[in-house]
């Protein structure tokens, strides 16, 4: 079990390393939000330009984690189509190992991408002391795991590499916009505050923002519990999907059912 997880993580990180140029390209999006959107909206915001950038910095970090993690999850959709994974599927590896390995590998990739954004913190007026950095890294890790689990729960159900990104965008973007990453939830309309209670991204962003700026919207213990619960439920769900259709080496993506 542990060895299977390890093998999946090594596989994905080796492939990630081949694509390390992505780390740089992946910087474009958060920086754009931070310095273009941030400057534009910040100028009109009650918070003021400098404060607004500071405020959305954790949100933009969350964005980076969210998109990297869901993109990493796509590999499972690709994997179903490449022969190498067939060889993996006939190795005596429990399907749970593959699910956990994928979640961990995706989280690590997202985490690294997030860390690459951190050096820009001072430019956004964010002060990173030792305490803040430590708190931030811990919450980033938790957020990465959550987003990776979300990504996998989706990816596990798709066998098409063209459909998955469309569907995931249709779900991921609203989750991001509702999360309060780009505006304070306190002053948001009531329905948005309500919706945020059902949005794991909101809890993750709020935890990161709290770790950085010391102000929370949700009770941090509630956030922690919510994220851990989301990870557990979605990981369990992916394992279930992976196990349901072993025929056709589908990892659950087709209607062929494994008969025991």
């Amino acid at each position: 079990m542990i060895r299977g997880i390890y093998a999946v993580v090594v596989l994905d990180l080796k492939r990630f390393w081949l694509d390390r140029a992505r780390l740089v390209a992946g910087l474009a999006q958060p920086l754009l939000y931070l310095f273009v959107l941030g400057a534009g909206i910040g100028a009109n915001s009650q918070l003021g330009g400098g404060d607004y950038k500071r405020y959305i910095f954790p949100g933009v970090l969350g964005l980076s984690l969210l998109f990297t993690a869901t993109f990493a999850a796509i590999t499972i959709v690709f994997d179903r189509q490449i022969g190498f994974f067939k060889a993996v599927l006939i190795a005596p590896v429990p399907r749970a190992s593959i699910a956990f390995g994928k979640i961990i590998a995706g989280a690590l990739q997202a985490f690294v991408q997030g860390v690459v954004v951190l050096p820009f913190a001072p430019l956004a007026g964010v002060h990173l002391g030792v305490g803040e950095t430590f708190g931030l890294l811990c919450t980033m890790l938790l957020a990465s795991l959550t987003f990776s689990a979300i990504g996998l729960a989706f990816a596990a159900r798709f066998s098409s590499t063209t459909v998955f990104p469309i569907v995931s965008n249709a779900v991921i973007l609203p989750m991001f916009f509702l999360s309060g990453a780009l505006y304070p939830l306190v002053t948001a309309p009531h329905w948005m505050q309500l919706a945020a209670h059902f949005d794991p991204v909101a809890y993750a962003v709020d935890l990161m923002r709290g770790a950085l700026l010391g102000k929370f919207f949700f009770n941090p213990y509630l956030s922690l519990a919510a994220l851990v619960a989301v990870i557990a439920v979605l990981a369990w769900d992916s394992v279930r999907v992976f196990n349901r259709g072993e025929d056709d080496s589908s990892l659950g993506a087709t209607k062929f059912n494994w008969r025991r």
Binding site: A7, V10, L11, K14, R15, A87, L89, I90, S249
Partner: protein
């Protein structure tokens, strides 16, 4: 889990195996036993069900009906034991093209539960054994076709399996690369491992201890290469004469049926040795050269899979095998 398996169990035992895809019935009741230590070939035309059978044996697909055991382990109820005991080279590539050969093997080792150090050592061992050491640190996509197939073999051998499935493992290789590949495989077979393979190259099938012919999802013949050839009946006579056209005409008149066309006259007959002396004496055309040989596996294949050279129609689906194999 570690249910004791009798060591005298067959390498592969397939009983009444049926596999239905959405509409296609790829296997329609296959019975097959491969003995331990055997080189066993599965021949059949495209779409006959070979890959389907292999993917069931490799636990990739579930049978619709029937049972299959690999080294005594049931492929459905005892999957992990099957997975641990066999290696397979798939018809399509199954290596991560972007990673190096060494990384591919290393990862496979990890997936099979070897520790990092052990996996690394096993990878190095295999690369050396298969003559891939020089190419090992390039991305797999930059290897030649032959090297890539060897890498596939190496991948299948990571756990040192007792039984090896090869699904058209040498497709697309040149003669030399194929020889090299089979030399490796024979080396493995010599150490008592079972090799169960498919191929469309008949000369590769010659090395098999036994051959099964599969057509339309059913085994239509199963025997040693020698016995299969006899089954086609008799042998082939080739004649070079001073006037082939005239000789052909004469042969046809006398109830022998020479094959049409060709530089030489080709004649399939149940008992060439018996007719040849008489034939040579009475043929009114001077014969320059005579050759008698047994039917090749190719002849057997064409004959028994119903794509016969005498224009037979394919074995109708549902007919329980077209064995009999009478004389031509």
């Amino acid at each position: 889990m570690t249910a004791a398996v009798p060591t005298d169990s067959a390498a592969v035992e397939v009983r009444g195996l049926v596999k239905r895809y959405d509409k296609v019935e790829a296997l329609r009741g296959v019975d097959l036993t491969v003995r331990r230590g055997e080189m066993f070939a599965l021949l059949g035309p495209n779409g006959a069900g070979k890959t389907t059978l292999f993917s069931i044996l490799a636990t990739l697909r579930a049978p619709t009906a029937g049972t299959a055991r690999v080294l005594g382990h049931d492929v459905v109820t005892d999957r992990d034991a099957v997975r641990r005991s066999m290696g397979i080279v798939f018809q399509e590539p199954a290596i991560e093209q972007r990673l190096t050969g060494r990384d591919n093997l290393l990862l496979m080792g990890l997936f099979y539960g070897l520790g990092s150090a052990a996996a690394r050592q096993r990878a190095a061992e295999l690369l050396k054994q298969l003559d891939l050491a020089d190419a090992a640190d390039r991305p797999a996509k930059n290897l030649s076709g032959g090297q890539r197939r060897k890498l596939e073999l190496a991948r299948a051998l990571v756990t040192d399996p007792q039984i090896l499935f090869l699904d058209e493992a040498t497709v697309g290789l040149d003669v030399d690369a194929r020889r090299g590949f089979w030399a490796q495989v024979r080396g493995l077979a010599a150490t008592g491992r079972t090799v169960f393979f498919t191929t469309h190259y008949m000369e590769e099938a010659e090395v098999a201890d036994r051959i099964a012919l599969i057509d339309h999802g059913q085994i239509v013949a199963l025997d040693t290469p020698q016995a299969l050839k006899t089954r086609v009946g008799g042998g082939v006579i080739r004649l070079q004469t001073e006037d082939n056209a005239r000789a052909r005409g004469w042969l046809t008149e006398h109830g022998l049926a020479p094959e049409a066309g060709g530089q030489e006259i080709m004649l399939v007959h149940a008992d060439p040795a018996a007719v040849l002396p008489e034939l040579l004496r009475t043929l009114p055309v001077k014969v320059q050269r005579v050759e008698v040989h047994e039917p090749s596996l190719e002849d057997v294949f064409l004959k028994l899979t119903g794509r016969g050279f005498d224009g037979e129609t394919p074995v109708p689906a549902g007919r329980p095998g077209g064995r009999n194999g009478g004389a031509a």
